[in-house]
Amino acid sequence: MSLSSNPSVPASLGDDQATYPLSFTLNGKPTEAQVHPLSTLLEVVREDLRYTGTKGACHEGECGSCTVLVDGVPMNSCLILAPQAQGAEIVTVEGLADGETLDRVQEAFLACGAVQCGYCTPGLLISAKAFLEKCPDPTPEEVRKGMEGNICRCTGYMKVVDAVVQAAKSSKGGCHAE
């Protein structure tokens, strides 16, 4: 079987190719990696590129601990095949702070003590960041709905809700989320 014999089939990635050259932006920096085509974005970010802030827990898209921003949209990095991130802008928890200056969601999580074991925290911070972009002045109920894709097994939701509401306080305007 030869794909190159069919002119409508791109020959760029034949069967003999064991790895895929991935080129994307990670936390604002142009990044290159040679990845196995069936590796997940989570695996590449954590294991190949050593950005270990992003956690993997359920590996089924249920717990949200691996959440990253893909072109500004929160997604489970455990469910994205690494080559699908070609050309994308990925932001992990390491990309939230500006140098030594923490993002307002990080400040608010610290101020409210919205951390217990901390395993879920990177995903919660990324989800909170994306949620507040869509919904700058949410009610606690809207926060609960907006953060429903993140699970904390230390039962720490109240302080998380407080933190997201507090992070929003400097913003004006109503909820634009649907």
């Binding site: 069919n6 409508s8 791109p10 034949g14 190719q17 085509p37 949209v73 997604m75 095949l81 699908q84």
Partner: protein, 274 residues
């Protein structure tokens, strides 16, 4: 091993050549999980994430269209309650941002919320291959648990349905989010008086209640007819007992779901019962 076509034609040509050994992957929210659990091998992947044309969705006054690669989040704000509310029930926000309608339907889960909503809109499904395009009523697409009428070289490209006058969705699940439905249900009514009802998680496939619908075509949506339709629905479903719920419970909930949905639709109101 990993193909990233830029056009539908390229994707179909690759699939035609590689056949059964190649798998289309869109959002990956189901396929990647199955692969990681060792339940399916992904030796050859045809990544659909670059096929921008199939992400389109059009809300028209008459016939609406949803491209197969439309993410659930796109539908969450649509003024078609059965579809918007079903889309809002899928996974959590991260899944809804990533998972596609075509993927949800193609997985053919008996509990697929969006599959049930599209069935309740009497939708048709467009399938394309190098041999051409064909359109099937969605109710003929589901043939068993995880099994569909798709041919090995075909790709789901989109869905169409007539815009209903009113519609509603109902979900019974163990949590508010990231929970598989114990029973889900959708119903629509159109200007011409036709009614469509579909239920999920009560049969090997998402189920159209054609018998109950036929009864309602004769009898309309009065209180007595609705009570009888709810009873007919409990006879028409074929639930099993599993770790989520017993068959008896699902049967009872099916009747309640149909009764509530029809009562709301009776007034022509757009309803949300989730």
């Amino acid at each position: 091993m990993f193909y990233q076509p830029k056009t539908v034609e390229e994707a179909l040509a690759i699939k035609a050549e590689l056949g059964l050994g190649a798998r289309f992957v869109a959002g990956g929210t189901d396929v990647v999980v199955q692969m990681k659990k060792g339940r399916l091998s992904l030796e050859r992947v045809i990544d659909l994430s670059r096929l921008g044309d199939l992400t389109e969705a059009r809300l028209e006054d008459d016939v609406c269209y949803v491209g197969a690669l439309c993410a659930h989040r796109t539908l969450e704000t649509w003024p078609i309650p059965v579809l918007a509310d079903a889309a809002r029930q899928v996974g959590g926000p991260q899944i809804r941002n990533r998972g596609t309608v075509g993927g949800n339907v193609g997985t053919a889960s008996p509990a697929g919320d969006v599959s049930v909503a599209l069935l309740a809109l009497d939708a048709s499904i467009d399938l394309m291959s190098v041999r051409g395009t064909r359109t099937l009523p969605l109710r003929e697409f589901f043939v068993g648990v995880g099994k569909t009428a798709i041919e090995p070289d075909e790709l789901i490209v989109g869905f169409r349905f007539r815009r209903p006058k009113a519609s509603g969705f109902y979900k019974n699940g163990k949590r508010n989010s990231v929970a598989i439905s114990v029973v889900c249900a959708g119903a629509s009514v159109w200007e011409d008086g036709s009614v469509a009802i579909a239920l999920g998680s009560v049969a090997p496939t998402p189920l159209r209640l054609t018998g109950t619908e036929a009864f309602l075509r004769e009898r309309g949506l009065g209180a007595e007819a609705i009570a009888e339709a709810a009873r007919l629905a409990t006879e028409e479903v074929r639930p099993i007992t599993d770790h989520r719920a017993s068959a008896d419970y699902r049967r009872a909930v099916s009747g309640i779901a149909v009764s509530r949905l029809l009562t709301q639709l009776q007034g022509g109101a757009h309803v949300a019962l989730v």
